[in-house]
Symmetry: C2
Subunit: 157 residues, 2 copies
DNA sequence: TTTCGTGCAAACATTTTGCATACTC
DNA sequence: GAGTATGCAAAATGTTTGCACGAAA
């Protein structure tokens, strides 16, 4: 829990307040609209920068797309994937080994429906880790290469 | 399995072949580079259009980002989410009900590592479904509203 | 008084669209 | 020959960056 510290500017304070008031999981421009009611001259880039900073400081949570580009795949059957958090490489996971996980998710479904009021239809499950090559090159270099993203590997608190 | 049929143009044939040769999960421009070696005048928009069509025809698989925009959240603790495939609304799932799922995933980890050669570090799990409001309005209208995306709800074949 | 944050405009990356021409069935 | 698909250029979208000015520690 060694979080970056950050200067509390007025913009930051307002962004944080509005996010708390918002309650849900707004996108940047949803929040931008609200914040502008308080600070009409704030710039969208300030909102972007500050949400980023606030999440680095551990004050807020960030949900970023785990993949920004579409990807295609010669095999039209749906299967599970594992993605390298270092280089972005994506591999398939043989679905034979995922039976228990699928069962557990299926069992959870009723509870999820009850607790959220949703009618659950499916899920997205993607594993994250270091691919064999990156594992190798990290071992050699003793640690850290580009490490592009890969915060929040899915581990809960 | 009522898939759209599609005209087999030369561009489509080449895109399909190159995707099959590629083997992995290329992005559009990775594939574009390969296809251009065969068809130097092909346009990137043709590649986009055709990958889309080929996946509608069930000939290839598509992995699209489950979320294209970043989202933020006043609560910095990591938790599970459920997203409405109709309106995009996102809600939290109480993590207390996810224990079994987490355990199953943890158990699967060793096997995943063995089969893929990765060093698995975490995962992304997001549930998909219809939120209470959309459920309601679908009941009224008898079916189908905008239904923005939500193909491949995570259900395997 | 230095370091850091801001607003603005411009750049960026990915994807989509409008349109005239060309190709498939 | 009707209905699609193509290439091109331009737009749309979401996000990042460079820079000169301004504010916080």
């Amino acid at each position: 829990m060694d979080h970056k510290r950050c200067r509390m500017t007025n913009q930051r304070k307002v962004i944080l307040e509005e996010l708390r008031k918002f309650g849900g999981h707004p996108t940047v421009d949803e929040l931008y609209v609200r914040v502008r009611e308080k600070l009409p001259d704030i710039s969208i880039s300030t909102v972007y920068r500050n949400l980023e900073v606030l999440s680095e400081c551990g004050l807020i949570g960030k949900l970023e797309p785990e993949r920004t580009q579409k990807q295609f795949d010669a095999n039209p059957k749906i299967h599970f994937h594992i993605r390298c958090t270092n280089c972005g490489r994506l591999d398939d996971i043989p679905s034979s080994i995922m039976n228990e996980v699928e069962e557990a998710i299926q069992k959870a479904q009723t509870l999820v429906n009850k607790m959220t009021g949703y009618d659950m239809k499916g899920y997205h499950l993607e594993f994250l880790g270091l691919c064999p090559k990156c594992k190798e090159s990290m071992k050699k270099r003793g640690r850290s290469t580009d490490e592009r993203k890969g915060e929040n590997g899915g581990q809960k608190d």
